[in-house]
Symmetry: C2
Subunit: 192 residues, 2 copies
Amino acid sequence: MSEPKRRDKAATRTALLEAARRRFTEHGYDGTGVRDIAADAQVDATLIFRYFGSKQALFDEAVRVDVPQGLGRDGRRDPAALAGELLREIVFTDRTAPGAEHPLFVMLRSAGRPEVRAHLREQVCDEYLADFAERLPGPDAGLRAELIGGLLLGIGLMRSVIGSPALSDSSIEETGGLVAEMVAALQAAPPQ
Amino acid sequence: MSEPKRRDKAATRTALLEAARRRFTEHGYDGTGVRDIAADAQVDATLIFRYFGSKQALFDEAVRVDVPQGLGRDGRRDPAALAGELLREIVFTDRTAPGAEHPLFVMLRSAGRPEVRAHLREQVCDEYLADFAERLPGPDAGLRAELIGGLLLGIGLMRSVIGSPALSDSSIEETGGLVAEMVAALQAAPPQ
DNA sequence: GTCTATAAGATGATAGAC
DNA sequence: GTCTATCATCTTATAGAC
């Protein structure tokens, strides 16, 4: 028998991070124990504290995401195209991959914690939606931008947590085409 | 000093149910302890087991909702009007009221539990969205219906858990007008 | 670099006194 | 109809042996 364990700090860390992302995504922060994560990663639970300090710190690192700055900032993309990009980046990720669910949805499932909610609002409203508000007409541009955010988040929710049949099976082209129409309508809508 | 407590079974039960709905909505199933609920309701924690049997049973009763059957079944309402009704019923409830958040969002925050997810999918897809699919054109009517579901759920999410500024402050008329435009666009969209 | 043992506290749930 | 006391189990986290 070879070594009983991979004596490799980096590999252990990565394995823990991926297992954490999977567990937190599926069961939320409170529903996940450090023992569960460690078992999935096939390492000892105490290593979590050795490498990350605490369960909370592991969570923070597992859901950390760098929002792609200025998604269409150089080009003058219209809102529908922007929405399409976000749809691909956030919603239509390959969820068969190791820790592939987008961090936004991991946070959504752990939104019981106030700090997680604050982080979520910051990221969604201030980072992702800022570009939309600039490109939408009317005095209610902010509201329209948030409606687009709600649409994208809702689609992701239907696919990942609710598991609705049609959306879960649909291709990004199919869904993206319909979403583009909805966003275009929002752009054309008269002030309410 | 008068009686130390309201000796009233019905009142205690109701108080527990309302406190449970509030707690479960805000902190999710796992983030809520029976002691928390009892403290909010100002009764003893053991009464939860006396009246409901278990924490899980209390949760089930707290989130039970009767889907209004056949929302526009008698009238031949179009999807945009139907969406408006759901928006009012599900999203724009008065959240200052006692246990007012719609049960769907309580479930969403406790979606770590598989049974809750199943219940959620059943209610959203089979009950709420069935009426839409019938009224939408094209071979992808089911997909379009789920997009509407995602939009409504996403809007509720932005308001309740994310707390996005514009949507949270908006009136149902304002938001409803924009939602109607988006749903109409979905109705008019060519098959993808 | 990894594991054993354990601390210190919270959890859901029960039995029985009042 | 309500409360006290308690159980068994689970939690995060730490100290220290190997």
